[in-house]
């Protein structure tokens, strides 16, 4: 039930923030902050003191599921189709929920001063997106999963379409159509899977646990798997389904980019780990070389494209695709190191990309441009901001002792055992990453300040946000075992080969 509460708090808080707009422009953000802090408190309690909430590890064999689920909730929804509310969280889900709520806090911090128009509706959309994402990370009924998959889309559309920048109509539309159409393919795939399960077992069910291990005819299995794969690869995104992302990211307001890059992309990776591979283990392994190649192509191609950008946000957006290529590579290598690396990359990239978007948004808010050619020499003007930029850029590149390094290293280590060629190419991505990152630092912060931009340095709220993310990344870099241990039981139960 605690999982449902996480969402209810966000839904109610969102409505509250919207309605409170009439009381004053400053009220909605306070309500949003209180809501997210309450959620954060619950998540911390779940992680640190589960016994206090009475949700210690339960092995509920009666429901027929595998593995240890920390929290489970189930109730009937549409019995006609065997659809029910099943929410569950294991280590992997909990890590991602923690990331979601934490970045929600950061997003509110970044919107605190930036969003002045219609703040009530903004925070409503923000909190509802987060609630939808938590739904995605916890839903264990495929229909329910699809439901949340789409629900998180609508508020995000509003965020881009209302508070976005100059080309928001195009970006919001593209974002919505890409996700929705690929989502429909997934819905079709879900229906086919359920139908084959019905043929075999005689009863309709959308439950993840029931559908695991459904035998599909060889020809159909590949198509059904592709339905899932395309939906998740679009969200991830992987080349060639990535073209919505640079537009959506560069047009979204800062808080929107933070949530998009930090959280929404991770739902694609989560879907691959939780659904695509476990539901279709055999065809997934046949498909793995293709997927891994796509991963490597994503890493290299988008890194190259990123290098060619002048628009700061677009550049960061392309680097996101590049980093998510590592996740794709890791997932389809499907051994302990690689998948753990993919999970670490998801978490670390969530923080580093969110921080970079927040910096880019902060710069745009101050000097009203994202064009790097018009920047330069900002180090002397805004030393604190420049330091943060350097830190998070270096983190994203994969500096040892920070989270991203652990993730990408593990991915490469794992995939090396599967395919040396692909791994060799993917590893080149690390070099290209260094090149485009240094370009950013050089163009924006070094050199001469041609336009003599005067701007305020980071405010206290921003410093607080960046410091929190910094601590997170350092923790991941120095003590990754704490997170790997949480994810390991999940991965074991999904039949990842552990040594």
């Amino acid at each position: 039930m605690i999982l449902v509460w996480l969402m209810i708090i966000l839904f109610v808080g969102g409505l509250g923030a919207w309605l409170a707009e009439g009381l004053g422009r400053g009220i909605p953000r306070v309500i949003a902050l209180a809501t997210i802090l309450l959620d954060l408190l619950l998540v911390i309690l779940m992680l640190a003191a589960p016994d206090l909430l009475g949700i210690g590890a339960l092995s509920q064999a009666s429901l027929g599921q595998q593995g240890d689920w920390l929290v489970l909730f189930s109730a009937d929804w549409i019995p006609r189709f065997g659809i029910s509310f099943i929410f569950g969280a294991d280590g992997l889900s909990l890590l991602l929920i923690a990331l979601t709520v934490f970045l929600g806090l950061i997003a509110i911090g970044s919107a605190w001063h930036e969003i002045t128009e219609r703040p009530g509706f903004f925070y409503f959309n923000l909190l509802w997106t987060l609630a939808g994402v938590i739904g995605v990370f916890t839903a264990l009924d495929l229909f329910l999963f699809f439901f949340f998959w789409e629900v998180m889309l609508i508020p995000m559309y509003f965020i881009i379409a209302i508070w976005g920048h100059e080309n928001k109509a195009y970006a919001a539309m593209k974002f919505f159509i890409f996700t929705q159409v690929s989502g429909l393919l997934m819905l079709l795939a879900i229906m086919v899977l359920v139908w084959f399960h019905y043929q075999a077992s005689g009863f309709l069910s959308f439950s993840y646990f029931e559908l695991l291990g459904t035998e599909l005819p060889a020809g159909a299995a590949m198509w059904v798997m592709l339905g899932f794969f395309i939906a998740f690869a679009t969200k991830l995104p992987a080349v060639p389904f990535h073209s919505w992302l640079p537009d959506a990211h560069s047009q979204a307001p800062t808080a929107g980019s933070v949530i998009l890059a930090g959280v929404l992309l991770k739902t694609g990776a989560y879907g691959l780990i939780r659904f695509t591979v476990p539901l279709f283990p055999e065809v997934s392994m046949q498909f793995a070389p293709v997927a891994m190649t796509l991963g490597a192509v994503s890493i290299l191609y988008t890194a190259k494209v990123a290098f060619a950008q002048n628009d700061l946000k677009r550049l960061i957006a392309y680097t996101s695709v590049s980093h998510m290529g590592f996740v794709l590579l890791g997932v389809y290598a499907w051994n302990a190191q690689a998948v753990q690396g993919a999970v670490m990359t998801m978490l670390a990239h969530g923080l580093s990309a969110a921080a970079l978007f927040m910096l880019a948004g902060g710069i745009q808010h101050r000097i009203h441009t994202r064009d790097m050619d018009k920047m330069g020499g900002l180090w002397a003007v805004v030393p604190k901001m420049s330091f943060m930029a350097l830190f998070f850029t270096v983190a994203a590149v994969g500096m040892p002792s920070l989270g991203n390094f652990v993730g990408e290293f593990l991915v490469l280590l794992g995939s090396f055992q599967v395919s040396i060629t692909i791994t060799a190419f993917a590893a080149l991505g690390l070099i290209v990453a260094a090149v485009y990152s240094l370009i950013v630092i050089q163009k924006v912060f070094h050199g001469e300040n041609r336009n003599t931009h005067e701007m305020a340095d980071l405010s206290t709220i921003e410093m607080l946000c960046f410091s929190l993310m910094m601590i997170g990344l350092i923790w991941m870099g120095l003590y990754p075992q704490s997170m790997l241990d949480m994810a390991a039981p999940t991965l074991q139960s999904l039949n990842v080969a552990f040594p």
């Binding site: 006609r80 789409e150 379409a161 539309m173 159509i177 929705q180 159409v181 229906m191």
Partner: protein, 490 residues
């Protein structure tokens, strides 16, 4: 005629009585408000009659009409639709048009025709119901004809509808004649036996008859390539009448077509499956593609209705391979979803319009979110429901299509459905986006005037339709249970 039959026909009798009462009242006292209220009362009486007296179901009430759960479901939908249209018509015509009383007589007659269609399982009642419905529609479309500055082009729309609808009625009638000539029966149920006994399954005359009926029905349902009239009539008619055409007349026509297809076992003729598949594919593609190019909201909804009927045909085609009850269940759900959603959509347009000025250009909706958040929110829910996004009833409808489509192995049509939905998103979102834009300099004084004087009835209609769309989208189980039980009769 036994008492049971009278009881079962109570709804139709009450509607007829209501029509007479409204007519006599209008003859003696010309009072728009009074006639409107009387119409509402008569319709409500017909709607609620079966709450108080229990009908005997299912029953063949006279040779022409079949009263069962299926017909009652549709007549309930139809009468709800008529109530909404009546509510919308009052502020639309009041003060903007003279002599509005006859409109309600026509409305009642049209509703009666639709209810008869929903209950008919005989070609005679099929044709009677259809003509009662269509003839009152000709007049309703042209209703503001004497108004010098009518908002739209009622005459053009009406003549167009008259000619094309007359043509399609003729086609249906000729088809019925051919069927009768070969099989010797006019009752839907007796057709399969006649086909078997007289070995008509490859009889060219019989098949031509079937095809002519299908073409006529496709006209009425505006399936591509019989769709040309739809956007013009939708745009030219006054909004409440457009709502009537888009919901009541389509639902009634669908009700009788499905009954005909299933009762007559039309799918034993493979030509029927082929033709329906072609119609479905063409409607999905053409409807969506043409909708993209429109700037008028009524025309967008017209093309979108063409596309939606294409989706619906996918469900009907599954009846060829699946048990009838499943297809009927899926189809009735989708119709209910589409019915409620379009009704709410036209209610919003109507709330913004009157007989002198209709706000139906996409630019009229710019900034509606900030000028009139309530109407814009309803419209957004409507558009998301039409696009089939979760939380709305349209999603469950689409889910049904997918589920029967997968069982029926209709991969080609399903892939067209996905493509069509993708295109559909574009024009639905375009409208949503227009409403989100800043109103700034686009502020229309008329729009704000309209908002100030909205009667409570419209708010009630909007609120209850929106609540239904969301409720049935989140918790469809009760409606599904109802439909499952009525579909089990097939």
């Amino acid at each position: 005629m036994s008492n049971d039959v009278i009881l079962d026909l109570m709804q139709i009798i009450l509607l007829t009585l209501g029509t007479v009462v409204v007519m006599i009242t209008a003859a003696f006292k010309r009072d728009h408000g009074l006639v409107n209220a009387l119409t509402l009362v008569s319709l409500s009486a017909a709607l609620l009659v079966f709450v108080f007296i229990a009908p005997v179901l299912p029953q063949q009430a006279t040779i022409l009409l079949m009263i069962d759960g299926y017909s009652l479901f549709f007549s309930t939908l139809i009468i709800i639709g008529a109530l909404v249209v009546t509510t919308l018509a009052y502020p639309y015509f009041e003060k903007h048009n003279q002599q509005n009383e006859e409109f309600y007589i026509l409305l009642m007659i049209g509703t009666l025709g639709a209810v008869i269609l929903a209950a008919s399982n005989h070609f005679v009642s099929f044709f009677l119901g259809m003509e009662i419905l269509s003839i009152s529609l000709y007049a309703m479309i042209a209703y503001p004809i004497h108004k010098q500055d009518a908002a739209k082009f009622p005459l053009e729309a009406s003549v167009k509808y008259l000619i094309l609808s007359g043509l399609s009625s003729a086609s249906i009638l000729f088809g019925v004649a051919l069927l009768y000539a070969q099989s010797g029966t006019l009752s839907f149920d007796a057709i399969p036996a006649a086909v078997a006994a007289l070995e008509l399954d490859a009889d060219p005359v019989f098949i031509v008859g079937l095809m002519m009926i299908m073409a006529g029905v496709a006209f009425k349902l505006s399936l591509v390539p019989f769709h040309i009239w739809t956007p013009d009539v939708y745009e030219g008619a006054p909004v409440p009448v457009t709502a009537f055409i888009a919901t009541l007349s389509k639902a009634a026509m669908l009700a009788v077509s499905l009954r005909l297809i299933i009762a007559a076992k039309a799918f034993q003729f493979e030509q029927v499956t082929i033709v329906l598949s072609l119609l479905a594919a063409a409607s999905m593609i053409v409807g969506n593609l043409l909708a993209v190019q429109q700037n008028n909201v009524k025309r967008i909804l017209a093309y979108s209705s063409i596309a939606h009927l294409g989706y619906l045909l996918v469900v009907i085609i599954t009846a060829a391979v699946l048990p009838d009850s499943l297809s009927v269940e899926a189809m009735t759900y989708y119709i209910a979803a589409y019915f409620l959603t379009s009704l709410a959509g036209f209610a919003v347009i109507s709330a913004l319009s009157n007989a002198g000025r209709e706000l139906d250009d996409i630019s009229d909706y710019q900034g509606l979110f900030w000028r009139n958040p309530w109407l814009a929110a309803v419209m957004t829910v409507v558009l998301l429901s039409l696009a089939g996004i979760p939380l709305t009833v349209g999603f469950i409808g689409k889910f049904y299509i997918f589920s029967v489509g997968v069982e029926g192995n209709l991969w080609f049509l399903l892939s067209l459905l996905i493509i069509g939905s993708g295109i559909g998103l574009y024009y639905y979102l375009r409208l949503v986006y227009a409403m989100l834009l800043s109103p700034a300099d686009m502020l229309k004084p008329e729009a704000d005037a309209a908002k100030a004087s909205l009667p409570a009835g419209i708010h009630l209609v909007l609120a209850s339709l929106t609540a239904l769309i969301l409720y049935l989208g989140v918790y469809p189980a009760p409606l599904i249970a109802t439909l499952q039980s009525l579909a089990s009769g097939f």
